[in-house]
Amino acid sequence: MNPPGPLGALEKEEEHSSTPILGPSIHSNNPQERIQARRLRIAARLEARRREALGEYLDGKKESEEDQSKSYKQKEESRLKLAKLLLCGTELVTNIQVAADIREIHRRVEEGEIRRQRLEKLENEVKSSQDKFDEITMKWEEGKRKRIPQDLWDMLNTQQVHCAGLIEDKNKLISELQQELKTKDDQYVKDLKKQSDDICLLLERMEEQVRNVMKTFRQELNSIEKAFEAERRELLTSNKKKWERALQAHNAKELEYLLSRIKKVEDYEKQLNKQRVWDCEEYNTIKIKLEQDVQILEQQLQQMKATYQLNQEKLEYNFQVLKKRDEESVVIKSQQKRKISRLHDILNNLRSKYTRQIRQFEEENQSLTSDYIRLVTQFKELQKAMRHFALLDDKRFREIWLMNEEEAKDLISKAFDVDRIIHTQHLGLPWTAPDFWFLRNVGPISQQQQRSATQILEEVLIQTEEEGMEEATSETESYLDLPKQVSMKTTRKILMLLCDESGFLIESKLLNLLRPLEKSECYLLKLDAIFSALGIESEDDLYKLVNFFLKYRVHHSPSSQISPWNLSLPQERTSPMSALDPGEQTDLERQKEGSLVGGEPEEKEVPPSPTLIHPNDVLKILEAFVMGLRKPRDPPAPVKVVKYVRDTSKDSAYWEALATVLPYATQNLWDALYTALEKYHLVLTQRAKLLIENNSLEKQNTELQMLLQQYLDSKINSELHVPPTQVLRAPTK
């Protein structure tokens, strides 16, 4: 029972020792190994494709793989062998235990059987003995009943015999049992012996096992070691071979290199020699050249030194000069600085002055603006006054006119009287009074028609003034010039239309600015912009535009028909003015007046329908107008001049007519008469003059005589060295 403990321990140890050898098994590992090998092979192939040059390396690798597998095999083999050995060994050892077990079982079975038999036997014995005993006890009862001693004795004897038999039986049984016990004891001894034998066997086997296992382990270890060594050796040899091969190759290469190197060295030596010789020659030549150069350079150096000295002196001189200058410049600089500071002060002063002036000017500006406003109001008042004065002037003008006319007429009548006197008295001719139209004329000539027109216009003017249109004031003059054709309303309407339709002429910025303003101001500014765009500068142009519009509407004719008419308009106006005689001019004026007066109502009938100008036509009209305006624009000055001259010319003509009431013949006659009379008068006057002279001389003479007397009488004369009397006497003498 004891030994198995150590056995187990030993076994354990063995197994422990065997464990490290148990590597991966063949059956399980081989496929993996194979897979690994395949993978490696694939990798190797890929590698080989990549670099075919390194074939040797691959070979070596393969070899090593094989070797590894060899050692693996060896390991696996030995491992399996050892496992088997261990298994068998343990089986062998445990066999004893198993055998003991089965023996024990058999023993138990037998024991059980024997015990059962024994028990049966004992029970039978007990039963039989009990029977016997019962019998005996029964017999005791019988014996008690026996009275006969003989019988009793017999019975006792038999009873004794029975008892002895019983006891004998029992003794027999006991002896049997004791026999059995003895055999059991023997068997116990035998068992002990057997067990000790078993233990001995077990020990033997275990030792054997241990020995075997150790031996085999050693063997396997040796074999594995051998395998490894062989592998190693192979590896070594292969590596050595490789190494040697590599070494040989290396040596060969080295030799090659050496030879080539020697050759190269020789070559280089030759080249070197050549080069040396060549260099020597070159060196000599260069040396000579350089020596020459050195000489030259030395000369140059001397020269340079001389120049250098010269320069040095110069420079020193310059340096001195510069120093001086520098000093001067320092002085100047300080001066400049001072100046700068002064100027700075001045600048500051000026700045302050400037700001002050700005303020002053601002104030001035404010005062001036207020002045301006004031002046504007004054101007307006002045205008009002002017209008008032204009009316007054008109009246005065009329009065003066009438007065002058009257005077002229008086003069004329006087002249006529003179003429009549001359004719009747001096010439003795019958005189007839000349009958002229202007003689009957009273007041300004055209004034009456003009006034009617201006009056109408003034009404319109007032209206426009009320609206604040400044242009209207300027337009009044134009209306004064050509007022008969268009009414204010129509012009206004036309202008409004123009304003609405030709918005494209206005700049968008201006529109933005105009938005907040009043309607009228808006129109005004817009029209201003449009006129500037169209090139309408003067009131005349404006009027022309209005007229053009009306004409266009009246004729409903294309612009081509209008333009010639338009062109002819100035011609009509200019030509008669310049060409016509004053006499004819009056006629023409009359006609014109008549036509104008006649035209006006015609025109005035039309304006009530200004809507007849379709907004769409406005642009066409404008285009035509602009086309037409370009040409008349060239000679604008004469037109204006004529306009102004005409006004006065009428008067002057009138007045000239008045002046020339007397014809030239009479004038000539008068002139001649005048000259004759003049001469006559001259004679008379000379005569008179001489008379006066005579009188004065007489007077002078008397006076001088008086003076002389006075001088001569004075005392001074006596005091003088030379008395003036003597001097006087001499010249007078």
Partner: protein, 504 residues
């Protein structure tokens, strides 16, 4: 093996002499003193321990070298250093004045190297932790030392074996119990396992068996009254705070022809005291009580005390007289503890006991190993166990050798083999499986991939099927080895089997 026997033999030969240990100690100490005797006389001239070292250190102290022509024993070695002398002195007087902890590590080591292994335990036990010292102690006392069996600790080994030795040779009412209890405070921290393979019964004439002759002791024992109690472990076990394993045999070893039934009496008092002891010992993991004539009642008493034990993992009651009732108690223990190993080998468990065990096993999740060798559970019990194994998912080792099993159990077991994936080892040796049963088992094996060992020796199975089963096992083993790359895992079942063998 022989050496082991020798180790076991030598103590036993001197064991029966009562004061063997003490005398041995004395003799050894005496020997030691005699050997160390010359030492104190010499130090005035040259201390022997430093003699060898003197050569090494001679170079440094070359200045002090002198030649004394008169002294033949003079060598070139120098006079030892003061530290050496001090250490030597400490070593000499260690018993009276143990100085160790205050020393520098190197000096400590020197002291430990030179300390005598025969110093009284009272001095050394709690002072010296150095393994090398205890190793010297062990090797000096016992020629064979398996330190691995004692957790690799020499100190633990020394104390365990020392205590075991004392217990083995303790004779109640003659040996002084204080002898053991004195040791308790010294060894309480180091003893984890107590393996006592004999308890001597009390004797009338103590001096006589001292010679160690068993024949005399046996004859003496015959005279004694049959009612004999053994040493009560209670006090000792209660004092051992780290005790994990208790392996007891209430019997006498090597009695040979002096066999007496009295020598193997496990009395009720013993039983009760032991039950109380193991109940009180909460650190106990392994409890073995073998070859001690434990019958049903005693087994029940013991097992009742083990119910709901916090740490117990292994229970071994092999080679006793446990019957069905005891088996039923063990079955109850299975469901009331975390028992992992149960060994009831060589008992008298029959079908009923096996059935109750099977019932407990069916839903158990702790038990790994069950050993019912050399019982008589027969087919009924075998079938019940087989049924239980169909649901059990924990058991790995099952030993049913020598149980009078036959074909029906084999058929059921073959079904189990096909289903179960936890079993790794089955032993059906010494049964009457028969040829057909063998074939059926072979069929079952063909579907099994986990079983590594299947013992069918001497069970009337055809050699062919046994061989084929062996092949299947071989394949399974390879597969298992592949599954676990660490080979030690694979070997664990074999090694686990190791300790079972000595039990059988």
């Amino acid at each position: 093996m022989q050496s082991m026997q020798a180790t076991l033999g030598t103590p036993t030969s001197s064991a029966l002499s009562r004061f063997s240990t003490s005398t041995q100690d004395k003799s050894s100490t005496a020997g030691q003193t005699s050997s160390t005797g010359p030492q104190p006389s010499r130090p005035s001239i040259i201390p022997p321990p430093s003699k060898s070292k003197g050569w090494g250190t001679g170079a440094s102290g070359g200045r002090m070298r002198r030649i004394i022509a008169e002294d033949p024993e003079w060598s070139l070695a120098i006079v030892p250093l003061l530290t050496e002398l001090c250490i030597q002195h400490i070593v000499e007087n260690f018993q009276n004045n143990p100085i160790l902890k205050q020393l520098l590590p190197e000096h400590k080591q020197k002291v430990l190297d030179h300390l005598s292994p025969d110093l009284p335990l009272a001095v050394t036990a709690n002072l010296i932790d150095d393994e090398s010292y205890w190793r010297r102690c062990c090797t000096q006392r016992w020629p064979v030392c398996h330190v691995a069996k004692h957790g690799g600790s020499w100190k633990r080994m020394f104390f365990e074996r020392h205590l075991e030795n004392l217990l083995r040779h303790f004779i109640p009412s003659t040996t002084d119990p204080a002898l053991i209890l004195e040791l308790l405070p010294l060894c309480r921290n180091y003893v984890r396992r107590l393996r006592v393979d004999q308890f001597l019964p009390p004797m009338k004439l103590p001096p006589r068996p001292r010679s160690g002759e068993l024949s005399e002791s046996g004859s003496e024992a015959e005279v004694e009254e049959p009612a004999t109690d053994h040493y009560q472990l209670g006090d000792l076990v209660a004092g051992l705070s780290h005790l994990e394993e208790l392996d007891l045999v209430y019997g006498v070893k090597d009695c040979g022809m002096n066999f007496e039934w009295n020598l193997f009496l496990f009395t009720y008092r013993d039983c009760h005291s032991l039950a109380a002891t193991i109940k009180a010992c909460h650190t106990l993991k392994i409890f073995r009580l073998t070859r001690s004539k434990v019958d049903d009642d005693k087994a029940r008493v013991l097992i009742r005390s083990l119910l709901d034990h916090p740490a117990l993992e292994e229970l071994d009651l092999s080679h006793n007289l446990v019957g069905d009732r005891g088996a039923r108690a063990a079955a109850k223990l299975l469901s009331h503890s975390r028992l992992r190993v149960l060994n009831l080998a060589n008992n008298q468990v029959r079908a009923l006991g096996a059935q109750s065990l099977a019932h407990a096993l069916a839903h158990n999740t702790n038990l790994i190993s069950l050993n019912l060798r050399l019982n008589c559970i027969e087919d009924e019990g075998g079938q019940a166990l087989a049924h239980a194994l169909q649901t059990n998912r924990c058991l790995t080792t099952l030993h049913l050798g020598g149980n009078e099993l036959s074909e029906p159990t084999a058929t059921l077991l073959s079904q189990v083999l096909a289903v179960n994936t936890t079993l790794t080892s089955i032993n059906l040796s010494c049964n009457h499986i028969g040829l057909d049963g063998g074939k059926q088992l072979l069929e079952g094996m063909s579907d099994n991939r986990t079983l590594l060992e299947f013992d069918l020796r001497l069970s009337d199975v055809a050699q062919e099927s046994e061989y084929l089963i062996g092949q299947a096992l071989c394949a399974n083993r390879e597969a298992a080895r592949q599954r676990a790359p660490n080979p030690s895992c694979f070997l664990s079942p074999i090694t686990a089997k190791g300790p079972e063998n000595p039990a059988g």
